[in-house]
């Protein structure tokens, strides 16, 4: 907390000063310490190690930093005649601020109030009645000064003067003393001549001074001057009609200008005016501006309401006053966006204003002429340019309902005179009121901003918002809360949340490109007020990182790395992180982890560890030596660890024998991870390979065998093992594995086959029979079989020259295994043997029975002494060749 006790002990840290000077010269590289990033690659070869987090910018407080004293003055408060007054304290910094308020009665009597603490990152209202109760009845009306220590604009203070009976509302933002000039200008507008305008002038100094107020009213045209002598801290409230224009019973000019000059020091007098028509509930605060403070002829205002309010038609009006001694030409336009998202622009007629002339433009009427339906406009703004002296155009822009009860004032600002494209506003939802935020792009280029809504339980983070040239975005906080719209992190505003702070900042390196304000609106009570308070500089990079910091995947898996950034405002308030928009990703080893350059989606290529680097440029703003914010972007480089686990499926064998053929029909399957990754979920599955082992176009599904376990976890060595059991049929079988759902880098193809089988060749000595479309390759046998079958045939013909040649029916299929004659993967039926290539059926039907004994002798001589005699049951001999 910043306390007044430190007021006289402020110290500017020399290192801080050095750092500020250094950083303001150019950009700075902000890097994280990355032990693995030195391995290779270009990403880390050009950079210098530095602390990862940005130091808190020393901006906005000049040399005094956060101990800089700020004395703010408000011209007027009142707690009588049906008025209530509240003081709004809006602390945009991360630490509480002690505020010393002082009341001054109308006649300048001083009352030091107890110190008030403005809570960090929030706002609060203080009812003046409590203070008046302390100070005494003579302080029920008067002026106010507050003193705090902190950076420029860190604390925003505003007086809200409200008359609920008449639905009147006037806000006055306190201005810092010592700034301004000796001349103040303002304009008013009234719905009818029955209205009134009260002028308030207040001496903020300890010296007496004289003030001259010049009034030029129009419709009806009246003018008058009044010299007001002000004692130290005295405040005077003057009704313009009676007090200056001297028209006790006449009509009040519906619009006009007020010019105030005084003989005090610059900024010694603060002033405000209040235009009201009580019976309508009409109220319009008149803000005075100092022409001497102007820096450009470009005036803009954000958030011009055009659509009806509770069926009450709105009229948008612009009051223009030439405060110079020369003629000026005013041009303007109203950029707008329709409810369908279309952008449009209404050009205002060129106004030629003579010296001192005041005119009113009815924007609504112009819209109607141009065929634009008011209720189709979702957001609009006002832009004015003028010729002549800087600051010579004094304006007021507002929308007022036909009833006059609801007035929405649009503050018009000199864009070049704005401190920064930032804002920090209170938001609150009380009764029927809500806070509406307007952010306007004042340039011809697209601009971006980030916004945060401070909540009690954490910030609500808006997405990076793009605003088209000259357009305005509108955010209704109540609507956000009531619709439970999620932020970028999926967070919603709790329904019970009623107050907080909204902070925003432009991004992109160009300042003063956006203006913004908040509008507190109570459509039921017909009250609205404005608040606009900028930060001294746009937000800065605070920290960045990649998330996840470490990610492990598998070959082929896509890992997602996201670059995150955290910003802080110029007061050191750190915001929640958000995803960086356009980082560039690379890797220390692309053969391990290969990230997409733009998206960070990283493909696991090969086993090992690699650093993933992301680089991007982040905003950096520092309060420069010339009193402006210098853009010193930060080149950010961050890394994360990417580990790729290779998952392979291995086996002790490539081939297994079909079950039921003897030998080994099982195989050990090993799913291995490299580097070893224990306790990972493994799933195995079998699928048919391309080869069906000699079976073609069978009905049903080919049995593929079984696994002892189709799922499990890798052991401490990162291995999962199970056993594969081959089916009884030949063919190829593919074993696939997934680890945590991601496929292994390879699949395993088992050849379920009886090895060593060859096809018997054709010969004139015998015929090969039994081929079918479903088993076209049916004469595969062992070497013994295919060697001896021709010998048997030739022996037979040698014994019986001219005999009908032997017919050899099925041996085995190409890959062996069960020979399913039924073509449906049946495990039973004939040919239960015929699996290993040692069997062949020799047709007996064309062999005379007188020759059978000779033929079977030949079988015995030719490696098949154990043949089966199935001549009686199936017309063949079933040969069994020796293995």
């Amino acid at each position: 907390m910043r306390r007044f006790a430190k007021f006289r002990n402020r110290v500017l840290s020399p290192p801080t000063l050095v750092l500020l000077l250094t950083l303001s010269v150019g950009s700075v590289l902000l890097l994280s310490k990355t032990p693995t990033s030195t391995s290779s690659g270009t990403a880390d070869s050009q950079v210098t190690r530095a602390e990862g987090r940005s130091t808190q910018p020393g901006c906005c407080g000049d040399e005094e930093g956060e101990q800089k004293p700020h004395l703010l003055a408000g011209s007027y408060y009142k707690v009588t005649d049906g008025f209530s007054a509240q003081l709004l304290l809006n602390n945009k910094g991360p630490a509480p601020i002690e505020v010393q308020p002082t009341l001054f009665s109308l006649n300048g009597q001083r009352f030091e109030l107890p110190i008030v603490t403005a809570e960090a990152n929030n706002h609060q209202f203080i009812d003046f009645r409590d203070w008046v109760a302390l100070a005494g009845a003579q302080f029920s009306e008067g002026s106010l000064q507050v003193l705090y220590r902190g950076k420029d604009l860190e604390l925003g203070v505003q007086i809200h003067l409200t008359n609920e009976i008449h639905s009147l509302s006037f806000e006055e933002k306190l201005t810092e003393l010592g700034k301004g000039s000796t001349r103040l200008e303002g304009v008013w507008w009234l719905p009818s001549p029955k209205g009134e305008v009260s002028l308030v002038v207040s001496n903020t100094t300890e010296s007496s001074l004289a003030t001259v107020a010049k009034i030029q009213g129009e419709s009806p045209r009246k003018h008058g001057n009044l010299t007001i002598d002000l004692a130290p801290h005295e405040t005077r409230v003057v009704d313009i009609r009676t007090g200056i224009l001297q028209r006790e019973h006449g009509a009040m000019s519906r619009f006009g200008s007020i010019s105030i000059e005084h003989n005090g020091t610059a900024g010694a007098v603060v002033a405000r005016a209040m235009a009201a028509e009580r019976n309508l509930g009409y109220s319009l605060p008149v803000q005075f501006s100092s022409p001497a403070a102007a820096k450009s002829n470009n005036l803009q205002g954000a958030g011009l309401r055009l659509a009806d309010v509770r069926a009450d038609r709105l009229s948008a009006k612009v009051v223009l006053h030439n405060a110079s001694q020369a003629e000026m030409i005013v041009t303007g336009r109203v950029p707008y966006t329709t409810t369908t998202g279309a952008a449009g622009e209404l050009h205002l007629p060129q106004e030629q204003l003579s010296a001192g002339q005041t005119e009113v433009i009815d924007v609504t009427q112009l819209l109607r002429i141009q065929g634009v339906r008011r209720n189709d406009v979702s957001s609009a703004s006002l832009e004015l340019q003028h010729t002549g002296d800087l600051g010579a155009l004094i304006t007021s822009c507002f929308s007022v309902t036909d009833s006059g009860n609801q007035v929405f004032r649009v503050p018009i600002w000199d864009v070049a005179a704005q401190r920064s494209a930032t804002g920090g506003y209170p938001w609150y939802i009380a009764g029927d009121s809500s806070t509406v935020i307007y952010i306007k792009n004042v340039t011809d280029q697209t601009q971006n901003y980030r916004m945060y809504l401070k909540l009690t339980g954490g910030d609500y983070v808006f997405p990076l918002t793009t605003v088209a040239p000259h357009q305005t975005t509108v955010i209704d906080v109540r609507k956000l809360r009531d619709t439970q719209a999620p932020d970028v992190n999926g967070r919603t505003i709790p329904r019970e949340e009623t107050r907080g702070q909204v902070q925003w900042s432009s991004t992109g390196g160009v300042d003063r490109v956006l203006i913004g304000r908040s509008e507190q609106v109570d459509l039921v009570r017909g009250i609205s007020s404005n608040y606009a308070c900028q930060n001294c500089c746009p937000n800065n990079f605070y920290d960045g990182w990649l998330t996840p910091a470490q990610s492990t995947g598998f070959q082929g898996e896509q890992l997602q790395f996201i670059a995150m950034q955290q910003d802080m405002n110029c007061y050191g308030q750190v915001y929640p992180p958000y995803q960086v928009g356009t980082p560039s990703f690379t890797s220390s080893n692309l053969s391990i982890c290969n990230p997409d350059w733009n998206t960070g989606t990283t493909t696991g290529v090969g086993p090992g560890e690699s650093s993933i680097f992301a680089s991007w440029t982040a905003d950096g703003w520092f309060f420069g030596p010339f009193g402006v914010c210098d853009y010193t972007p930060a080149d950010v480089l961050r890394d994360a660890l990417c580990s790729v686990v290779a998952v392979s499926v291995e086996s002790n064998v490539d081939t297994v024998r079909p079950s039921g053929t003897g030998g080994t029909s099982t195989a050990t399957i090993k799913v291995a991870t490299n580097p070893p990754s224990p306790n990972q979920n493994v799933q195995l599955s079998l699928s048919a390979g391309n080869s069906t082992g000699g079976h073609v176009s069978h009905s049903g599904t080919r049995p593929l065998g079984t696994l002892d376990a189709t799922q499990g976890q890798t052991n401490s060595q990162g291995i999962f093992e199970t056993t594969y059991h081959a089916p009884i049929f030949g063919g190829s079988v593919i074993v696939s594995a997934t680890l945590n759902g991601f496929p292994a880098s390879n699949t395993l193809e088992y050849l379920v086959v009886v090895p060593g089988l060859s096809e018997i060749g054709a010969s004139a000595d015998y015929s090969l029979v039994g081929q079918t479309t479903t088993h076209p390759d049916n004469h595969f046998g062992t070497q013994t079989a295919i060697t001896n079958l021709p010998l048997i045939a030739s022996d037979y013909l040698g014994q019986f020259p001219g005999a009908d040649i032997l017919r050899y029916n099925d041996l085995s299929l190409k890959w062996g295994g069960k020979f399913d004659l039924s073509n449906n993967w049946s495990a039973t039926g004939s040919h239960s043997e015929h699996r290993t290539g040692i069997n062949c059926d020799v047709f007996s039907g064309n062999v005379p029975s007188s020759r059978w004994s000779v033929l079977t002798d030949i079988f015995a001589a030719r490696h098949s002494p154990n043949f089966g005699d199935e001549t009686s049951s199936a017309n063949h001999w079933h040969l069994r060749f020796s293995q």
Binding site: G798, A827, T828, T856, N866, F867
Partner: protein, 320 residues
């Protein structure tokens, strides 16, 4: 000498593993000698100790095999005739049986005699005595030869032909006189004869005699692989030694032939082809190169029953 060196180890070790059976009465022409019957290996047929469950079908949904225990076993049905029942549970749940008769339940003697043919060749005659102790009929006679000129004397309806080489019969060229060659059936106590002609002189060769019946009747369903593997191959065929044609003896010198005969005399003694005294005498005289004396004595020794026709013909036809 090179040929001899190659040949001698062949027959010297060829009966390793066979049970040596006692010599039997050596036929009709000799009473003092007992030829050694063909020898048998001690092969036991037993049920497979390990076997796979038999897949009956595959589950339509899970593709898991639905299997059953086929319970393969081997049952000795008749020890004398060597008949076994190969049994298992079929796919239909019923027991299936295939009858297998092992070929070595025969006791047999092979008698060989060789004579000159008018064309200068040699006629080999084999007397096959199925001894009364046999449990089987004679079903085949296999003969090892080492000659490219082997002409079996065929019969109109019987089969004799070449055998394929196998692990048990890998040397020389084997011929098989099948069961159809011996007609009618040669039961125990009966004899048969097989003959062949060759231009090659006689030397010592292996032979085989089998009994029973080749082949098995089916059971309507093929047997499990493990039972099929139980079936013995040629290794179970009873084996012996006899005379057979050797091409190398045609061009061998007398000295080589003498040396060859001298070296096989102890083996022939073991085969019961000559008495102990004659064994010593022939060894001594062959060493002395007294061929004329040997040729004179060989016929007398045969007639006196002290040597068999195999010894006589081996000496006479190689040294005369």
């Amino acid at each position: 000498m090179i040929r001899l060196a190659l040949f001698l180890p062949l027959f010297a070790g060829s009966l390793i593993g066979f049970n040596i059976q006692k010599p039997e009465v050596g036929g009709r022409d000799h009473s003092k000698l007992r030829r050694l019957p063909v020898q048998k290996k001690d092969i036991t047929l037993t049920a497979p100790k390990t076997y796979e469950r038999r897949v009956l079908s595959y589950d339509e949904r899970t593709r898991e095999p639905i299997s059953y225990d086929p319970r393969p076993r081997v049952v000795l049905l008749d020890a004398r005739s060597g008949k076994y029942g190969l049994k298992w549970l079929g796919y239909d749940g019923k027991e299936k049986t295939v009858i297998y008769q092992r070929p070595d339940r025969i006791d047999a003697i092979v008698r060989a005699s060789v004579t000159r043919t008018p064309s200068g060749g040699f006629l080999y005659s084999y007397g096959l005595d199925n001894l009364p102790s046999s449990g089987q009929q004679l079903s085949s006679f296999g003969l090892q030869t080492f000659s490219s000129d082997v002409r079996p004397i065929k019969k109109p309806s019987g089969y004799v032909g070449a055998m394929s080489k196998n692990r048990s019969m890998s040397e020389g060229n084997w011929i098989l006189y099948g069961s159809s060659y011996f007609d009618p059936t040669i039961g125990p106590g009966k004899s048969a004869e097989a003959r062949l002609e060759s231009s090659a002189p006689p030397g010592l060769v292996e032979c085989s005699v089998t009994g029973g019946r080749f082949g098995m009747k089916g059971a309507g369903e093929h047997m499990p692989q493990e039972l099929e593997n139980v079936l013995p191959g040629y290794e179970i065929w009873p084996r012996g030694l006899t005379l057979g044609p050797h091409d190398w003896l045609k061009s061998a010198t007398t000295a080589d032939k003498v040396s060859y005969i001298k070296k096989i005399i102890p083996r022939m003694r073991e085969l019961g082809w000559l008495t102990a005294s004659k064994s010593r005498w022939y060894e001594q005289n062959l060493g002395g190169q007294n061929l004329s004396l040997i040729l004179q004595r060989v016929e007398d020794d045969f007639r006196s029953g002290e040597i068999t026709s195999e010894v006589r013909d081996l000496i006479r036809l190689n040294l005369q």
